[in-house]
Symmetry: C3
Subunit: 273 residues, 3 copies
C-alpha cells in the first residue's frame, strides 16, 4: 500500500508522509514566526524524513559527553541500512495521528510526541543490539530513558504501527514481544518474572490496548485485540478479543471483531455488557 | 486580599511575595556561597517575580533548537498581558509552602518544585491556546513534558492555588477542568473516555485531594473537598466531601467541612470512622 | 571483606571494583569506537572511582545556571570526606550487577543505570543535609528529580547495597528509612501520612523487595526480607519474611530464610503456596 511505496527503491514514488510533514511545517512557520527557525532546522532543511528524524532525535538524546552530530550520523546509518525501519517510522507516525483525538497534524506527532521519539530511538538501539553492538545499544537505551522517561530494553521486539501515548514511566523488558498495531498509555510495565535468563517478559499480540498503569509480569501472553484496563495487574494469559481489569486482572468480557488499540477507549464499562 | 494587591496597577502596593523571595534569596546566598551566582542570576538580578519566573522557566525549558532567550521573551509577554496569570503564579506558590510539610521557604517552592514550574509553564501554554496559537502551545507542552515529566494539555482548564507535589508522571487531558485549591500527587491521571471529540476528561472541583497514582477516567465529576485515595481508579462521579478509594473506587466516608487539599492526609483510615 | 579493603587508607590494597571498571571501559572502547571518547573522558581519564563518579554525575546534573565543574568539585569534596560514601557507591554498584539479569558488566551499572546515579547523588545531598547545608541539599535534590525522575528527599536515610531498577517515578519522603540490601522497582512511593512534622514516612528493613508501583504510606514498618507485590497499596505494618499484595495489601504468605531483594521475583504466585 501507499506507505510501503514511499520506501521503494524507485525514486519515482512519492513519499507522501514526508510531503505532508513539509507542507505542515511551512504552514506552521508562516502562522507562528517564533517557531520558524526551529521548523526550518528540524524539517525544511532536510532532504528526507529519515534525515529530519535523525536530526531531531540526535538533538533530544545528545549529552555533554556524546555530541548530537555523532548521534545524528549513527541514526542516518541505521535508517539507510534498513527498509524495515523506514516503514516502521512512517507507520508509527500515522498511528499517532489516527488514534489520538488531540493530534490534528502529522507534524505534531513527529515533532512533539515523546512516545514516538522513544520508539524510533529504540528501533535504532534494537538494530545495534541485533548486530552485537551491545555497548552502543546500551548507551542509546540509557539516553532514551534519561531524556524521554521511557525505558525500552534494546533486546525487546516491537512491531509496526505502535502508538505510545504520553509515555512517562513505561518499562518494556529485554525479552518482551509487542505485536503490530498495539497502543499503550503511560506507566505501562512489561516486566520480568525474576528468572535469571531466557524468556521472562510478556508477549503482547497485535491490536492490543494497554491502559494507563497496566502492569504485566512474566512470560504470559495477551491475545490479539484484547484490552487491559488502567491500573490492572496481569499475571496470567489473557485470551484474544477479551477485556481484563483489576488487581489481579480478571476477564470481564469478550467481543469478536473489535479493535481496541484504534478505539483508545480506556473506560471499559460502556464497551462491555 | 493581600495577594491580589501585589498585582494592582498602583505602584504603591507592596508585592510581599516578591519581597520575601528576594530576602530569602539573599539569606541563602550568604549561607551557601556555591549557590550565590545561581541565586543572583535567577532572583536578585530581576525587577519582578514575573521577570524572575520567566528567566527560570526559560532555562528549564530551552532546547538546542529553541533558545532560552526566545522562551524568556514569550513568558514575559504572557505575564505582562494577564493579571490572572500574576495572581495565579503567586497563589500557586503560597499553596506549595502552606501544604508541603517539607517546604520551609517560598524560595524552595519557586526554585525547586517541578510541579510549580510545570503549572506556570502550562498557564502560558493555555494562554497561547486561547489565542489560537496552537502550534506554539504544543511546542511548549512538549518541552514541559520532556523536561519536567508532567503532561498537562494546553487546552485543560486549571484554577488558582493548585499544588502539584512531586509530579512525575502526571497526565491531565485536553478537556479536563481542575478547580481552585486542588492538591494532587505524582502519577495522577485525568484521562479520556475514548470519545473522539468534545468533553471527554474529568471535572475536579475545588479543594479536592488526588492521592498518588489516582487514575480518573472519562467525563465524570469529583465533588468539591473530596479526596481520592492513592492507587485508586475512578470511573464514576464522586460526591462532595467524600472519600473514595479502591480499584474501582468506592465512597467509604463523608465529612462536611473538611479541607483535604490543605491537610494532605494521604492515608485515609484515620480520617474516616 | 574485599569491598571494604578498596577504601582502606593503605595504598597497597587493590580497589578491584575500579580496576574492573577500567578494564571493561578499555574493552568497550576497543569494540565500539563511537564510545571511545565518552569512555575515556568518563572513566579512563580519572585516577579513582570517586573522581570518575563525580565527573559522570556532574555532567548528568548540571544546568544552565550551575556548571558541571562546580558540581564535580562538590561531589569530590563529599567523597573524600566520607569513607561510608566510598563503601556505599561500590556496594550499590555490585548490587545492580548481581541482581539485574539484564546487566552483564559493572561498567553498564556505573555508566547507564539512572537508579544508581540518583542514589549516589542522593547520598551527597544527604551528606549536605546532615551538615545543615540544606539550601545546597535542596538544589541537588531538585536537579536529581529533574534529570533522573527519581525523587529522594535529602533527609531520608538509605543503607548500602540498595538497587533501584528502572527508577522512573520513585518518591522517597523526608523521614523514610531504607535498610541495607533493599531492592525496589520503578514507581515505588514511600509517602507521608499527612502529619505536619516529625516521622511520617515508612521504615523499610533490610533485604526487602518493593515491586513496581508499590505505594507505602505513613510511619509503618516493612519487616526484613519481605516482599511487596507490584501495584500494591500498603497502609499497615508487614512482618518479616512475608509476602504482601493487593489494594490494600494483605499478607498472603511467609517463608523464613528467603532473600527476595536478591531473587527479584516480581510475580509472587510461584513463590507462595
Amino acid at each position: 500500500e501507499a506507505v510501503e511505496n514511499c520506501c521503494d527503491e524507485s525514486e519515482d514514488e512519492q513519499d507522501w508522509v514526508w510531503l505532508i510533514l513539509r507542507e505542515e511545517a511551512q504552514q506552521h512557520a508562516y502562522n507562528e514566526p517564533l517557531l520558524a527557525s526551529f521548523l526550518f532546522s528540524t524539517i525544511l532543511n532536510h532532504k528526507s524524513l529519515e534525515a529530519a528524524l535523525s536530526f531531531h532525535l540526535a538533538n533530544k538524546l545528545a549529552s555533554p559527553t556524546i555530541s548530537s552530530t555523532l548521534l545524528m550520523e549513527l541514526f542516518r546509518d541505521a535508517l539507510e541500512e534498513s527498509k524495515d525501519f523506514r516503514l516502521a517510522c512512517r507507520r508509527d507516525l500515522i498511528a499517532v495521528k489516527e488514534r489520538d483525538p488531540a493530534c490534528t497534524f502529522l507534524l505534531e506527532a513527529f515533532l512533539y510526541f515523546k512516545g514516538y521519539h522513544a520508539l524510533q530511538a529504540y528501533r535504532v538501539s534494537h538494530w545495534l543490539w541485533c548486530q552485537e553492538r551491545k555497548a552502543m545499544a546500551y548507551f542509546l537505551h540509557s539516553q532514551i530513558t534519561k531524556e524521554l522517561h521511557i525505558d525500552i530494553h534494546p533486546g525487546a521486539k516491537i512491531g509496526h504501527g505502535v502508538f505510545i501515548d504520553h509515555g512517562t514511566g513505561i518499562v518494556i523488558g529485554e525479552t518482551s514481544v509487542v505485536g503490530d498495531d498495539v497502543s499503550m498509555l503511560h506507566h505501562v510495565t512489561l516486566g520480568g518474572s525474576g528468572k535469571k535468563y531466557g524468556e521472562r517478559h510478556p508477549i503482547v499480540h497485535e491490536g492490543v490496548l494497554l491502559g494507563a498503569g497496566a502492569t504485566i509480569l512474566g512470560r504470559i501472553e495477551i491475545g490479539e485485540h484484547s484490552q487491559i484496563g488502567a491500573c490492572s495487574l496481569v499475571l496470567n494469559d489473557v485470551p484474544s478479543f477479551a477485556t481484563a481489569v483489576g488487581v489481579p486482572a480478571r476477564v470481564i468480557g469478550m467481543r469478536l471483531g473489535r479493535n481496541p488499540a484504534s478505539e483508545m477507549q480506556q473506560d471499559f464499562r460502556s464497551s462491555e455488557t
